[in-house]
Symmetry: C2
Amino acid sequence: MSPKPRANDVKERLVEAAIRLLAEGGPEALQARKLAAEVGVSTMAVYTHFGGMAALVDEVARTGFRKLSAWLAEVAETDDPVADIFGLARTYRQAVAEQPQLFAVTFGQSAPGGKRATLSDLTTEEGREAAQEGLEAFEHIVRATERAIEAGRFRPADKYQAAAQLWSALHGFVTLEASGHFGAGEQGIDHILIPLGITLAVGLGDTVERAEHSTEAAKAVWRARTGNAGQGGND
Amino acid sequence: MSPKPRANDVKERLVEAAIRLLAEGGPEALQARKLAAEVGVSTMAVYTHFGGMAALVDEVARTGFRKLSAWLAEVAETDDPVADIFGLARTYRQAVAEQPQLFAVTFGQSAPGGKRATLSDLTTEEGREAAQEGLEAFEHIVRATERAIEAGRFRPADKYQAAAQLWSALHGFVTLEASGHFGAGEQGIDHILIPLGITLAVGLGDTVERAEHSTEAAKAVWRARTGNAGQGGND
DNA sequence: CTCCATTTATAACAGGGTTATGAGATACTG
DNA sequence: CAGTATCTCATAACCCTGTTATAAATGGAG
C-alpha cells in the first residue's frame, strides 16, 4: 500500500490524515508518529513541510475555516433573506455536528496567546482586512443580514453589527451543543436554535409570523438538500 | 518557603497552583512537574489526590464553573429583571475576560496535554443532576428569565428554553470575544453585547424602550459595583 | 508500642515531539 | 552530460512529560 507518495502532495495528505485521525480518535490521536504512519512517511515529513506539530494543527484549524466557508457558500440565496439566515445557521451547526473534533480545533486555535495571527476586530475596516479565513465564513452571514435589512425584514442597522449578533448566538448554540449541554441528536435545533433564531429576527425588526414562516421555508429547503444529496461530504 | 504542606490541603493547593500556572503560561504550562514544584511536593501528589493530570484538569474546569456561579450569585436581584439579565451577562463576560485560560479549560476549548474537560447536558432532568456546577451558573440565568416572564417583560414561554437562548448568545459572544474576533478592551460590549441583549429582550417580548432603559440601569449598577470594590477577587 | 493505611519521595519507564545526520531525489548550471 | 546545490525524507537518537513501581515516612487505631 501507498506505493510512493508523489512529490509535493505529502503536505496535503498530512493535513487530510490529521483531520481523519482527529475525527476518529479525538485530539489525543493527532500525533506525529501516527500521522506519519497513516500517510506512509516518517515523522520528518511533518517538520520539512510544517516545521512542527503546532503549525500542522494550525493548518488543520485553517482548513476547518475553509471548509466551513465552502459549506456556507453552497447555501443558495433565495428571495427570503431571513430563511437564508436560518439555512446558514443549520449549515454551520451541521458542519460542527458532523466534525466536532475538527471544529473544536478550528475554534480553539484562534485563541489569543497562540502563535497564529488572531482574527482581529471584525467590526472595523482594518480588522476585517487582517482576518482572512475567519472573515470569509462571517461574510456569508453579513451578506444575508444586509439583504434582510434591504428587504425591510430587519430594521435599518449596521450590517456587521447585526451579523455579529447573529453569529454570536449561532456560535454559542453550536459550541454549547457540541459540549453536550443541549442533548443529543436534533432536539437542540427544534428546542433552542429555531426559537433563538425567531427571537433574534423579531428583535431585529421582523414580525413573529414572518420569522416563523421563514423557519419553515428554511426547513423545507434543508430537507430537499439533505434528502437528495447530503452536503456532508468532503469538499 | 512552603514550610511543610499540611495534610489534606495539598489537593486544594494543587488546584490553586494549576489555575495560577494556567493563567500565567497557558495550557502548556500546566504540567505535573511544574505543578509539583510550585506546591513544593513531588509529582506523586497529583496521583494520590487525583489519579492523574486528566482528573486534575477536570477539577480545574469544575472550579471555573464554581467561580463563575459564585460571581453570578453576587449579582443582586432588582425589580428590573431584564436589567438583572444584563448584569449577569456583564459578569459572565468579565469573568472570562479576566481569566480566559481558566475558562477556556472550563468550557472545553483548551486541552492541556490533550485532556479535555467534559460537561453534561443541561436540558434534561438527569443531565442537570449530573452537572451540578454547570447547572448552577445556568440557573441564575433561568431565574432572571423566569422573573422577566412573570413581570410581563418577556412573553410567556418555557423558562429553560428562553434562558438557553440567552445563554447561547451570551456564551457565543464571550467565546468569540475571547478568541479575539471582536477586538480588545470594552468595545465589544458596547458594539455587540448590549445591542445583542436588546435584540434578544425585544425578540422575547420586551419593548425597545424598556430594554434600552434596562441596559442603562444595568450599566449604572455595574459602575457602582466595579467602581467601588472590584469583583475580580478570588471567591 | 505495634500495626495498618495513607501519603510522599525517588527513580525508573513509556510515549510523545523534536532534532542531527546522511542518503536519495530533483533541478539548476556549466 | 557531469557536477553541484537544494529539497525531501528515513533512521536514530534526544529531551521532556505523564505515569508507575517501590519503599520510606507519616499518623492514627488498638
